[in-house]
Point group: C2
Amino acid sequence: MFENVKNRRSVRRYQVREIAPLLLNDLLEASFRASTLGGMQLYSVVVTRDAEMKEKLSPAHFNQPMVKSAPVVLTFCADFHRFSLWCEQRKATPGYDNLMSFLNASMDTLLVAQTFCTLAEEVGLGICYLGTTTYNPQMIIEALELPKLVFPITTITVGYPAEMPEQVDRLPLEAAVHLERYHDYTPADIDRLYAYKESLPESKGFVSENRKETLAQVFTDVRYTKKDNEFMSENLLKVLREQGFLR
Amino acid sequence: MFENVKNRRSVRRYQVREIAPLLLNDLLEASFRASTLGGMQLYSVVVTRDAEMKEKLSPAHFNQPMVKSAPVVLTFCADFHRFSLWCEQRKATPGYDNLMSFLNASMDTLLVAQTFCTLAEEVGLGICYLGTTTYNPQMIIEALELPKLVFPITTITVGYPAEMPEQVDRLPLEAAVHLERYHDYTPADIDRLYAYKESLPESKGFVSENRKETLAQVFTDVRYTKKDNEFMSENLLKVLREQGFLR
């Protein structure tokens, strides 16, 4: 059961083969069946196929090669703009220029994005999420001409797979499931839950390549540093203000 | 194609029938295959089956009846606590007490939640999202004993359907899909895109029941008011601070 999802892996290399517009529309239309707060559909999806537009988006994603090599790049945006326009045109006063509304719209957006991915993989497409979207939102806002109350949340590159990478590891189920109450982790729990991940040859490779002592240090000192996170948090607040979601 | 998703509806009434623990685990395990930032799996799921715990959670969800009537209530939480514990135990200094990390963990969490829903519906279960989770996060944090760097993002009630509600409307596909660039909406676009929604008998019913002039006013004046959103935004900032995601 659930074989498609259980066997999935993110795909970063794609065949030179277009995705038929009808298939893409069908996937998007089905995805829009995802739950949405109050039926408001607080999202927009910008479809990038044009090579020039991919060039423009590429630096926002630190020039990860998938942006230019995927036939389709989808930028999923939280969107309270369309809904607010409707309100204004209907003698109603929208009140969605705030953080709660940003979070609500982000949730709608991510449910659609993930439904899209599950369905795309079902028909043999491969996808990869680009977490860089919220690191450089202003570059994407500019490239895609997003108005106020529209914010890029995540980006997916999509295409027919030209690779079948190894499936990456996951923690044991018990690591992330709590019955009735959150059960905090003892040091022994942490050791046990992370033992497999730490034992993997690729994990050991990351440690030695980066001249670190532990795999955790690869995360804290190289990949997801406090300094970067704090810088990006400040930037996030700034761009949320610019896009009208925070005062 | 995609018939399960295309025909889906949220289900709020459930049969008195348990969900087998093995099935639930299988669903959760498959869901954890969703993409996750850097393989960090920044989420925890709290499973509520106990009637007393449902009683405790119920007021946080404005006593929506599904919380007590569903066999299983799942609270999906953004979780940087577990990962940070691991870092600390491995001579690494975690830097995840900030807004960027909250957003990253929220995204991981929502991808898992939505994968769970798609798969659960595939095996005949019904689900309903409770948007109330982020309205009253502190009540849920208390009930589920969530430590710092853990934040409830969304809640799903799950069970075997005891109803088959009408499918709710969606905007035409073009409303939320933009080719290459965001194309802003003209007043005529807005009229056209919202015409079907406004024409529905239930929409007209909402307008007259609430003694409003337009459907949009039902949203702005009754369901999702500026005042509530601003109050909840302040609260959100406060609880983010309390949970260690904001200074």
